[in-house]
Symmetry: C2
Subunit: 456 residues, 2 copies
């Protein structure tokens, strides 16, 4: 027991200042979610395993935290599996619940389960933790917070436009200027694969293309070749690799490339609509940019795909992402409900704001007034006023012990308490309190009412 306690790797304790800074970000996000008409829901931290398993690919299944059944959990386990050590098959016999991996699948489950109580289109937001047994690194934790806004039950592209505006509103409000909102469309990716004659390799093709940023054109081409896409098809991709210019210029090049693909042109049309809407109602600080390589690896996207990059100069993975999925609830038996949504990665946004030194000082909202404790009868006198101060909305505390003055003042200092009140015999006799400004050192003899009115 003498061993110094620790927490599991990839998890974090949050100090008072960190909690307040997280709340500052979450409050802003929540505020804009609500201005845009989204309503909050919450789902349980753990779901039945069959709700989650198989929804995030093989890799995802591995990264889901499983909860061991309670009691005599081995009774349901096959002796053979126990003996041969086949964890993959054994797990479902000794674990029936698992921690939430994201907020999207639980949301789809929620919509299907409560479909009769929901008015569609249903606009929900959800700000909760998710857990992944991933290898921890900078900006990647095993427990982290997602803030998601989704609309289900409408395939209007106005939603995509609004979600771009919502990203812009939040990041502008957080003073995170010049974030890049990257956009692409799954139909355009499908169109490219079609033009290349590689429809059957759409996944391999997009997975490789998605890496262009990181590994460069040559390596991407190598990967495509190794997946069985032939050189002639890859050559057709050249305009994609060399795509530059404005959103509109990129659209023009892609239109030419996709001129024979119906699905491709549909995707282009969607991307054009969003761009022309945003051009008419310009974003406040973010930049909307077309990124044809963006795929986000998530196979459920069927239309637009979004990803947000932090302001230039900050090395951080994406701080948000999302897209349209035409049939997410289908996996739970409710067909033909289109959805579109975006997510804010709270933990990474925090790191970016911290790195850019953009947390306002006012976020630290600690105690405003400390009553110094001079002993039993003085403390009693103060205690009466303490309640009055609090009722007037002033964050106040009384030092609990009549410790040495130096210790009490150092407590105020270390907790950044801006004012202390000293009430000794003289003050008590005069019905006054001595208010000391910790920064300036100025002291004033005031009645308690005068102090209260100064703070309000």
């Amino acid at each position: 027991m003498a061993k110094k306690p620790s927490i599991p790797k990839g998890t974090r304790d949050f100090s008072p200042l960190e909690v307040q800074r997280r709340q500052y970000i979450m409050n802003k996000i929540q505020h804009h979610f609500e201005l845009y008409g989204f309503m909050p829901i919450e789902t349980p931290s753990f779901e039945n395993s069959d709700t989650l398993m198989g929804k995030y690919g093989e890799e995802g299944d591995r990264l889901i935290f499983k909860i061991l059944n309670s009691g005599e959990y081995l009774k349901k386990a096959s002796p053979e599996l126990l003996e041969t050590g086949k964890e993959n098959q054994l797990t479902s016999q000794i674990s029936e619940k698992a921690l939430r991996y994201d907020l999207t699948v639980p949301f789809a489950r929620y919509v299907v389960q409560h479909q009769n109580d929901i008015t569609f289109p249903f606009k929900r937001y959800q700000m909760q933790n998710v857990w992944r047994a991933d290898r921890p690194q900078k900006g990647r934790f095993r427990e982290f917070t997602q803030c998601d806004a989704d609309v289900v039950g409408s395939n209007s592209l106005l939603q995509e436009v609004e979600l771009v505006q919502l990203y812009d509103a939040v990041f502008t409000d957080l003073d995170l200027k010049a974030c890049t909102i990257k956009i692409n469309n799954r139909k355009v990716l499908a169109g490219i694969a079609e033009v290349m004659g590689a429809e059957d390799k759409l996944i391999d093709f997009t997975v490789a293309l998605d890496k262009l940023d990181k590994i460069g054109k040559e390596k991407v081409q190598e990967e495509m070749l190794s997946k069985g896409i032939d050189q002639k098809a890859i050559d057709l991709l050249d305009p994609v690799f060399s795509l530059t210019g404005s959103y509109a210029e990129k659209i023009a090049s892609m239109k030419e490339l996709l001129k024979d693909s119906e699905i491709g042109l549909k995707g282009i049309e969607e991307l054009e609509f969003i761009n022309s809407s945003i051009t008419q109602m310009p974003l406040k600080s973010a930049v909307l940019d077309l990124d044809i390589t963006l795929a986000r690896g998530l196979n459920y996207y069927t239309g637009c795909i979004f990803e947000v990059a932090a302001p230039e100069g900050v090395a951080m993975g994406s701080i948000g992402g999302g897209g349209r999925y035409d049939d997410l609830t289908g996996i739970f038996g409710l067909k033909d409900v289109s959805g579109v949504g975006i997510s804010f990665g709270l933990d990474r946004i925090y790191l970016v704001i911290e790195q850019l030194n953009l947390f306002p000082d006012s976020v630290r909202a600690g105690v405003e007034v400390l009553f110094i404790n001079f002993g039993k009868s003085e403390a009693q006198y103060c205690a009466g006023w303490l309640s009055r101060f609090r009722e007037s909305g002033i964050k106040t505390e009384l030092y609990p012990d009549s410790a040495k003055m130096k210790k009490q003042m150092s407590y105020a200092d270390r907790n950044a308490i801006p004012y202390v009140i000293l009430a000794g015999e003289n003050e008590i006799n005069d019905g006054k309190l001595n208010l000391k400004n910790m920064a300036s050192g100025e002291q004033l003899q005031l009645t308690p009412e005068e102090i209260i009115s100064r703070f309000s």
Copy 2:
């Protein structure tokens, strides 16, 4: 997959209204925590198992949710245990992490781990979920929310007084009048056991006494007998069983009973101090009551013990509890740090407020204005104003599709949206919007600016 999805037993989905009502309660609790000088911290949802195991008794250990190790978790398991099915011993070999069971033990771990960064006395609050594999019933869930405030590093009884005031402030603010704050003191219980000559049976004795409410005097006496406490000793308890009257009257009786027990009289002195302080600064709506049978089964309490009962007539277990523990951080190697704290049970408080119909209507904070969608060009006209409305702080949405009027109006109705805006060709030509009050049916032709100023 066609099977209707569900969630694990004892867990819940929260609808928008439920989330807003929970936030309403949590905001009030948080507000008062901060007025009283508590600062927020957060700890991870799961801890290393050895942080939690052995801290809540055998029953508690069983109720802790364990997380299965990732990957080839059987490699560390002893083949013999797998074969013989001894889950108790096997669990620690295949699971190294467990979900938080309460907020107190993780807090103690936090204090010890971060002791060099903390200024004592340290006043922290924490509002997070906890998980217990308990049998679900009314007011008892497998995932629920605790809101705790604790002070560590001071043994001043002023803290106990403040915690009683804090309970009163929160429950008064929630309009939960006449909650009973029951108080007892572990030293008094130890004193009674001493007087009875049953010091070695203190736990058995308090566990039995704690049940007086539920099973009555005779059954309690039977249980004590069965635990080896002799009849003569039990007869000495008679004044405890028949204790009535005011707080002060009960104190007087107990003083007589405990006159030869030093520890018992120390407990009485503490209870007297708290009562006289509260008498000088009367509570706003709660009642402080001495309950000598109160033990709360938690062995770490060493001084005062608190428990809050809902207003009379509401059948609900305790809605809050707490106490002083002189050596909680000792289990993690930091000795002699006294702590005292209280907890609010959010989920039960919710049920009580719901049963008493005390949620204000204003808690439901949904969309204020819905723009009706008449088609592409009208929607475009509205979209420009939509942003302006939102920037002015009005929660606004545009119906995403140009659906039938009836459908759009019914959407407004079902979501309790108080105003809709109709902007057809005429309004667009006049630069106006038609604002309809959904309750009265009144319609006004106004400029967008006029509408915005009406809402601010």
